[in-house]
Symmetry: C2
Subunit: 341 residues, 2 copies
Amino acid sequence: MRKDINIVEVAKKANVSIATVSRVFNNSGKVKESTRRKIEQIIEETGYYPNILARELAEKKTSLIGMIVHNMTGEGMPRAINGVSEVLIKRGYNLLIACTNGVFENEQKHFEIFRSKRVDGIIFATDKFLTAHERMIKKLPIPVLSLLQVTEKENIPFVSFDNYRFAKEATQKLIELGHSRICFIGGPESSVNGLERFRGFTDALKEAGIKINKDLIINGNFHVEDSYHKMKVILDRNRDFTAVITINDGMAIGAINCLEKHNILVPDQVSVLGLDLTVLASTSRLKLSGVQYSYETLGEKGAEILLNLIESEDTLFDKYIVPYDIYLRESVSCRSKSFKP
Amino acid sequence: MRKDINIVEVAKKANVSIATVSRVFNNSGKVKESTRRKIEQIIEETGYYPNILARELAEKKTSLIGMIVHNMTGEGMPRAINGVSEVLIKRGYNLLIACTNGVFENEQKHFEIFRSKRVDGIIFATDKFLTAHERMIKKLPIPVLSLLQVTEKENIPFVSFDNYRFAKEATQKLIELGHSRICFIGGPESSVNGLERFRGFTDALKEAGIKINKDLIINGNFHVEDSYHKMKVILDRNRDFTAVITINDGMAIGAINCLEKHNILVPDQVSVLGLDLTVLASTSRLKLSGVQYSYETLGEKGAEILLNLIESEDTLFDKYIVPYDIYLRESVSCRSKSFKP
DNA sequence: GTGAAAGCGCTAACAA
DNA sequence: TTGTTAGCGCTTTCAC
């Protein structure tokens, strides 16, 4: 940090006290018009910038929000950050970001760093909310909001999607269309939200009285290529199905690519539906069917709730579930014809 | 900010001076082993955290890097941020992020906010580097590094891709394969890097003695759907071409979708090559041909150069061009057969 | 080894 | 209106 001119020097040059300079800068208190102009002129000339660090130290408020994310490179997180960012800026806050790659030690370290940095609040987005996380958070003297993870039991405010519900509802739509033998290409076991979606899927089947066929279920890792291979694995073990649900849109595309490679027509023979439609969905030749929700809204709501908590000094437990839409489009058809050999 | 225990109270409880506590916390100076342990115990018991704000004020160093990005939601920026973030953490810095949506006033405001926050340096990623940007930056007492924009004339350090060169080279590859009637679906005019790519394209043609046909050139906005329509526009005005180059991978996919819809075979009749291959490319059924480079490296290099500048107090003008690879894969064929009507 | 005290640059209560 | 002054919590000489 180079040497900057400070308030004392400005005051000296303007022949006033530092208090007056402070008042001018903050538009607080009354200052005679002529002195105000004088001071403003000096500020202009000298290129003076107040040192916000000192102000924050004095005010005990940083207007800084820390955000800890496990992964920046998905389709959703950048959008969520965008949403957060927008609300923060509007309300005079700044965003401190840390990327942890899901490593617990990194997360822990950043809770401490953020605490030391005296951020006013923290937005925490992780893959799996652990009891250890809860303990860390409970120790902090500032509000922490969980993004993407429901934390009912822990009484920690959160904003998330209702993964269980939309997966169930989407499955029901397929069932209504006459499908009963449905594949599920899921996420990794470590993803709580992935498991929730799977639970929604199986519950929908159960409630419809459809037996669950393990041949048609497989885990994946969210990626297009992986889905291609997983679809192939399923094809190799059982071809008696008429629909596929995938954990996200990339995997829907991977599945479609695989099916078409094997001369299975989508949606004539197999319908495909992806949960979590993002920009990837737009690359599909077929208009993809599936569940869509706004990550921007996720971020915006998260930021709003957190700021409200901070500014009201309430210790309220607040939460919000972002709504979703289900689209049935080109990749889904009413009653797919069998392609059984 | 709630009331936290501070150094004075710790000192009191330990019956030592605050200077000693400070020494313990920073491992600076000599402290007798027994007093050190005593103090550490008190720190443990009280859950004391040093107020980094105060330290920063005293030390005149925040270990904070500001990053101003115009757009968070592309494929590349999150990866670049990841790269930046990784280097910063490794070297003990934190990342302050601002999203401007390309609005000049927002950019300006954040340069000021960051300056006031006393960040140690700024990484600036914009679409178009203006003289006004240069003026702002020159006024700042801290180093600013331009990401994605070359700033030769301004003597501002930068890390970027060589958009001109890779576009030219990719075009030359197509020419070598026997293509001469090549479409170009470009970016918006506001994107300097898009224009550079276009310049590379036209120069390659010129140098090969190929006349430029305006029918085959069109601007777009980087998006898949837009590319679909732009490809259609070209098809409507001129079908005498054997290859298409698009400004990015999403547009390559859009173009392919359009061609196939019109029963034009890729790559048998038309080869398609996309600049800037990202995760979108992986959704294509055909392995996409094109230029690929690492946004992670972009971010890492940017952070490294900036930190070096900060820590050495040099005012060196430093720069780095991230290398690229050109892949010719399924979407390109040697000499496409004509599909002219 | 340890402590006292002078900053760091600002805000805000109180006085004038 | 304006100025004086006591913090905010830490680092860092300089004595002891």
